[in-house]
Symmetry: C2
Subunit: 451 residues, 2 copies
């Protein structure tokens, strides 16, 4: 009988465990996790901190009892410190002391860690936080409750920075958002970035772009951040949200080869370079379906999919991961901001001949109440006509997320932009137009490309 | 120089005219229409009658001036009475007398007419209405304004019946909905039909299914409808919404061959059987992408697409219509009800080996406020694994319409159900789950099919 050991109790690890029990109900599945929070939705942390979700316990995808009922053995508060593939054991330190655990098959789902930018001094000053795990979230919540801060500085103008600017503003704090890049949310193109900036400013977030924070210190009992170009901010709380890096210490201890961006190298079956060891989620490189090569793109959706495949294959399956398109959506105040595939600059770097066309249109027939404007950018290849990517911004209740999913489904199937026009999409005046915005934007692209 | 004549000024006709002017700016394009309302959104009529759209003028997709600016010549109040292909002329009766118009190429976009069920006596009683064109809509609106009816009977429990039950209820009338079929909205399966019925009843619509109305008369100054099984209803307004049939009188006059369901026979280039004559929209049979044969499926989205192709090909293009999947969505009070592809019964009739699995899940992570339940039915082929169809019901602001579009895009690309699970769809807790409901329902199908 197989003895499957999984290290990591977040999205990838638990997905692997559940799938393993599904395909081989007789196998022994153990999930070891460093903290005491198996299967929590870390994507939900900003919404807990904003106050929209009053009780953090609601963030559990499944309760501990549900996991146990699936026949999964849980080892919380167990930190794996080394893997020894020759002996098929993992060395563990837990609150009750050190030990080793043996395995037949091992899945590494160790996730990612917050990146700690080396050039910023004073990151260990009390009141400076990161956000990745439940414990980070509790620390921030406790700081807010105990010290009732009235202002916050967020360092990093990417996804987490945006979500936390929204969250802390809702929580009543005056938020300053500072970032290295010249435009906020550089995962979308600058013309859309300007709409994101406007939404931040409309909600009283002070935004400073193109600034490197250099030092965080304490002045007059408050935190003082100093950065390039004379940037200064005196606040009561600092959140550093400058990205994530794969957690690979354990992989290294077992000489598991690394790949793109220092993440664990895996093939599409989620096998690492060491026989018997699989890996999935934010600690691995990820196959990009369009580029047909691996990148580092840590996302919750991907972690779930890869985890499931690792769980199945660790018990003898031969499933292949279909690949990511980097599909993402973010809610920021009243906006949803979504993208899939490649933008113009990325496509050019990869050797395509991209053309990107921006369209603005109503989300539904504007004679019906409540219509909003959508801004859509479609990127296609001039030479082949293939759809490469799309970006959409609009009110969060106007189908932005599911419209990006139509694009994602089209790219997944390698459609040409002109074929997107021909899709048979649904229409009723309160919900769309006879040509859905997805199709209007594809049509605008074709008009530009083929005239 | 080409002289293109288009008969019909609704979705297909105007789409054809606009496309013709786009591809050949030097050609002469004339659109002849029987009424005085070119390019009106007849899909919007229920929302005008409900009062949600106060001014009917807002229903114009484009104003008359915009059409003229595109170089389109409009002939309103011109009713074509015969086509003579040998002479390339159309015989016309207009308010200013009869005449003939010649053409080089002709597009028939004559639309559909309300079906008048022959077995119901008294359909010409004052107070009995149909709903298809602007004039129908004005007649109903006038009746409501002049006579302030307090109750209405709707005959027909399909799409238009549903929309009008909603509209007249909003308008303050007590509505009875009666239909021949045993379940309301038989375009969705009975388990979903029950949810539709519950929504109607929750909004105080009295529903009688499996009833044939036999006679409409007048009693005590009000309308009295009598039907099978002792059905009786005394009301102030009757709307007959028992479907549409292709308007083909003109086609017949020119010996243009008919096809499926008596609609004009066309190939995928929208050519009829008579050289030089094209046809598009609700008057033609429609190529079904999955079945690879033609059916009669009149829909606004299809009319726009076919019109555009007819317009391009009438001027020498060779474009092919990609085909319909019958994708539809309907808003009924707080619900959206959508479908695409085939349901179980239809798939079986067509020789597939269908399996249909129903799933119920949250539209987004239920820890975030405002989550609603979605009911999704996925139909796939047991033998091949291909996705054949999907149906979704849920709150109208939960992405039902765009989620059916993801399914429609998947079917358009002939995906297997298990591939749908692997799509890279977007996720943020306020808008979805790590596995979108589309994928959860695909996964449930696979679990049933492959266990």
């Amino acid at each position: 009988m197989d003895n499957l050991l999984i290290i990591g109790g977040s999205d990838a690890g638990i997905s692997a465990a559940l799938r393993a029990r599904e395909v081989a109900p007789s196998c022994s599945v153990t999930v070891m996790l460093a903290d005491d929070y198996p299967n929590y939705s870390i994507c939900g942390l900003p919404f807990f901190l904003s106050g929209e979700i009053p009780d953090w316990r609601a963030l559990a995808h499944r309760t501990r009892e549900e996991l146990l009922r699936q026949g999964i053995r849980l080892l919380p508060d167990h930190k794996a410190t080394a893997v020894r593939p020759e002996e098929k054991i993992v060395v563990v330190s837990s609150s009750s002391g050190g030990k080793t655990l043996s395995y037949d098959r091992l899945i590494l789902a160790t996730g990612a860690a917050s990146r700690k930018p080396g050039h910023i001094k004073g990151l260990d000053t009390p009141g400076v936080f990161f956000l990745r795990w439940m414990a980070d979230s509790f620390a921030i919540a406790q700081h807010i409750e105990r010290n009732t801060p009235t202002s916050a500085l967020i360092i990093g103008n990417g996804y987490i920075g945006m979500e936390m600017a929204d969250a802390l503003t809702r929580r009543g704090l005056a938020v300053t958002l500072v970032g290295h890049s010249q435009h906020v949310l550089k995962t979308v193109d600058p013309t859309l970035g300007r709409l994101v900036l406007a939404e931040l400013e409309r909600n009283s977030v002070r935004v400073a772009s193109g600034v490197d924070v250099e030092e965080i210190g304490v002045r007059d009992g408050r935190l003082m951040a100093i950065g390039s170009g004379g940037f200064q901010a005196q606040v009561d709380l600092v959140l550093v949200a400058t990205g994530a890096e794969p957690e690979v210490g354990l992989a290294k201890s077992g000489k598991v080869p690394l790949g793109y961006g220092g993440a664990i190298k895996v093939n599409r079956r989620m096998e690492t370079g060491v026989p018997g060891i699989f890996a999935a989620g934010d600690c691995v490189e990820t196959w990009h379906r369009l580029l047909e090569k691996s990148l580092y793109l840590p996302l919750g959706t991907t972690a779930h999919k890869q985890g499931r495949i690792a769980g199945e294959n660790a018990l003898g399956g031969r499933k292949e991961y279909a690949g990511t398109l980097g599909t993402q959506v973010l809610k920021l105040f009243d906006l949803a901001i979504a993208r899939t595939g490649l933008n113009d600059a990325e496509a050019r770097l990869e050797g395509f001949s991209p053309l990107t066309v921006e369209t603005e249109c109503w989300d539904h027939k504007n004679y019906y109440p409540g219509a909003h404007r959508l801004h859509i950018r479609v990127t296609g290849d001039r030479t082949t006509g293939y759809l490469l990517g799309a970006q959409i911004i609009g009110h969060w209740q106007t189908g932005v997320a599911k419209r990006i999913d139509v694009f994602a489904t089209a790219i997944f199937n390698r459609m040409k932009v002109e074929e997107v026009e021909q899709l048979d999409l649904s229409y009723t005046p309160p919900l769309s137009n006879p040509w859905d915005p997805v199709q209007m934007s594809a049509e605008a692209w074709c008009r530009t490309a083929y005239q």
